[in-house]
Amino acid sequence: MLAAATRCFHCGEPVAAGGSVRDAERAYCCGGCAAAAAWIAAAGLEGYYRTRVEPAPVPQPPAEAAIARWDAPAFLAAHAPERAGRRSITLVVEGIRCAACAWLIERALAREPGVTTVSVNAASARLAIEWHPATPLSHLVELLARLGYRAHCPSRADARDAANERRSSLKRLAVAGLGAMQAMMLSEALYFGAGELGSATRDFFRWVTFLVATPVVFYAGWPFLAGAWRQLRLRAPGMDLLVAVSVLLAWSASILEMFRGGEAVYFDAAVMFIFFLLVARHIETEARRRAMAALEVLARAQPELAQRLDGAGAAMTVAVDEVMPGDRLRVRVGEALPVDGELMDAAAEVDESFITGESRAVTHAAGDLLLAGSIVLGSPVEIRATRRASESTLARLAELAARAQASKPRVARLADQVAQRFVVIMLAVAALVGLAWYALDAARALPATLAVLAATCPCALALAVPAAVAAAQSAFARQGALVLDADAIEALARVDTVVFDKTGTLTTGQPRLSGVAVSRGSRGEALAVAAALERGMRHPLAAAFGAHDDGRLVTGARAIAGQGIEGEIGGFRRRIGTRSFATGEAGDDEGVWLGNGRQAIACFDFADAVRPGASGALAALANGGLTLELLSGDSAARVSSLAAELGIRRQLARSTPSGKLEHVAKLRNTGHRVAMVGDGVNDAAVLAAADVGIALADGAALAQASAAIVVAGRDLERLPRLFDTARRARRVMRQNLGWAIAYNAVALPLAALGFVPPWLASLGMAASSLVVTLNALRLARPAGAAA
């Protein structure tokens, strides 16, 4: 055609005279194509243009308005607040179906300037990205769109998309299922009646099979074809490519045979391959959806509207993003609190089950902090907002949950890489098998090649670990634990030593003042000074002094880790903390001392109750073969009495934060695998130093806790179950990997030697994916039922 010279270099559409975009030697129909071509060139993937067999689809960048949304300051403030010069966000990405997509996106985004970390989880279709604010987020979203992936911010709109995705998956499944039945039925007739049928009847049957198979291949199989095309375009071979190659090979070779009146047709193999794969994929998607539902609940708990009260007490409905700290809000019975706020009514009953997992009424008094997401019971409440909606405890939790979903364990990344290479090797092996059989027995070349392609699809290998992780996440979530680092599951299963932080973890953390020994001044004065110094500190001791606070002014208060607090009150320097720090004296280190740095003013004694259920939980852990240790900044006498009470043999008292770090490091150096249990706030560094950090926290502290595993509620009895779940998860991962590898290892030689007909190979491949998925699902069931 003459027009060839004036066609778009990228998509092949005719270029309108005058309306074209040009660079040095090429013409493009539109900016989109020029940009896509420029990106592919810049990414070093130009070979695509030499090897492609069809023109590229026209990239469809999202509408301007939709793109601008990603850079709107309000959007960024709400979903990707700037922290330490970086922004981070977790997006749901439509179109991710396998490890290859994840790999591609990671590679494409990581090379963008300003992007610091990219992590894609194919199992949950989540993209976690951290970038420098100088780079507009819209730029990254646009790049995704150019690659054919659509990014969404996790929100309610996604539920609708997910429902649509599920519907279309069901529709494809139904078409494939009905088509497969018809194709099988007709093929049976061809297989068994071939001798008696005249060639006219045989051809009639083949034509009907063709009619049935074609919509299955191109409608039901569309996700695989589209995925394969994308993988080909970006030179990232993946499972879709393997599937598409085998299906199209079977389909087109059958058409050829049909016209030639050849030996056999393979429409049935193509159709059944698609059907079995869709079944496996559908079950896997459903399992993933169910497993993640527990985490998604957090994100949905925050309402979108709030009732703001003006000066006169009239209510006005506003979007939750518009609520500012200090606003008065009314929340009706049965509704969830839109933001964190201070209770203004005398008392209120709320249900905090979204955090504690227990659905029961909790009574709060005026001035208490109520958390966003709590459901109001009894009577309507009025609160004064203390934080914006995007900064609420709930928002932070939802962010943690999103991060948990985006985290991918090392084993899974390894399996991804193996599956990636496997696909390339398998295509080569299939070609070799085809050639070898062609030389030996041409009639068997096609079925053997199809069988190799179908039987060795590394679907099970790619699913093995992500499916187990998703199910384990859900099992943990049901026990009130959020796994923020997917590697923690594996690490937890290998732990042999559990180190406990004492205060707030093994004990209730709400010490009561049990005695005051005053050396100078009055008892009341000493208590008031201590209360003023401790004011605003998050340490549990601070709360014990709270009742004695008379509001006196403290200047320059600062906390010195492991020592105490120093500040100036009424012109005098005052210190509270260890004896040597507060009084400058050596000696018995029992209690908390108040002094001026040289002399003692008072010494306070505290009683701290052991948490109910602690001894039972610790005994269960010890029975499970774990060594228990107790670390505390407290005095030796107290620590050893607590250790004796709980049956802990090893303890370390009066340890400073750096001492705790050293101790954990020493344990790890001597070959122990250490889990550290603490509150995640005061001991975050030690938790991070251990193989696994477990934070037990409740209420507002939960959102600040930093650890690989965060347990909502301070219920120690959950710990043995967490270890148990982690061990089961590890076992399942190993079984899955072992099964997937063994299956591929056995199936390949059998298929290559021609012992397996194509339809049986399809069945075997789908069955191995199903086995892996169902095995992983055992984890999502409660421990008792899975025995």
Binding site: A163, R166, R167, L170, K171, A174, V175, L178, G179, Q182, G198, T201, F204, V208, L211, V212
Partner: protein, 54 residues
């Protein structure tokens, strides 16, 4: 064997009908929630229904 010329198209028609009705049902949201509706009759009347009656 001429019977096949009638029966096979009839089968195809029936399959087409089955596919069409499934797609129609799926688009209508019949399969969106497979868990909750089975429990619906066991639950007490939602408040909205009481309002409708009033």
């Amino acid at each position: 064997m001429t019977m096949l010329l009638i029966l096979v198209p009839v089968t195809l028609l029936l399959v087409g009908l089955a596919v069409w009705s499934f797609l129609w049902a799926a688009d209508g949201g019949q399969f969106d929630d497979l868990d909750a509706p089975s429990l619906a009759p066991l639950l007490e009347d939602p408040p909205t229904r009481t309002e409708n009656r009033a």
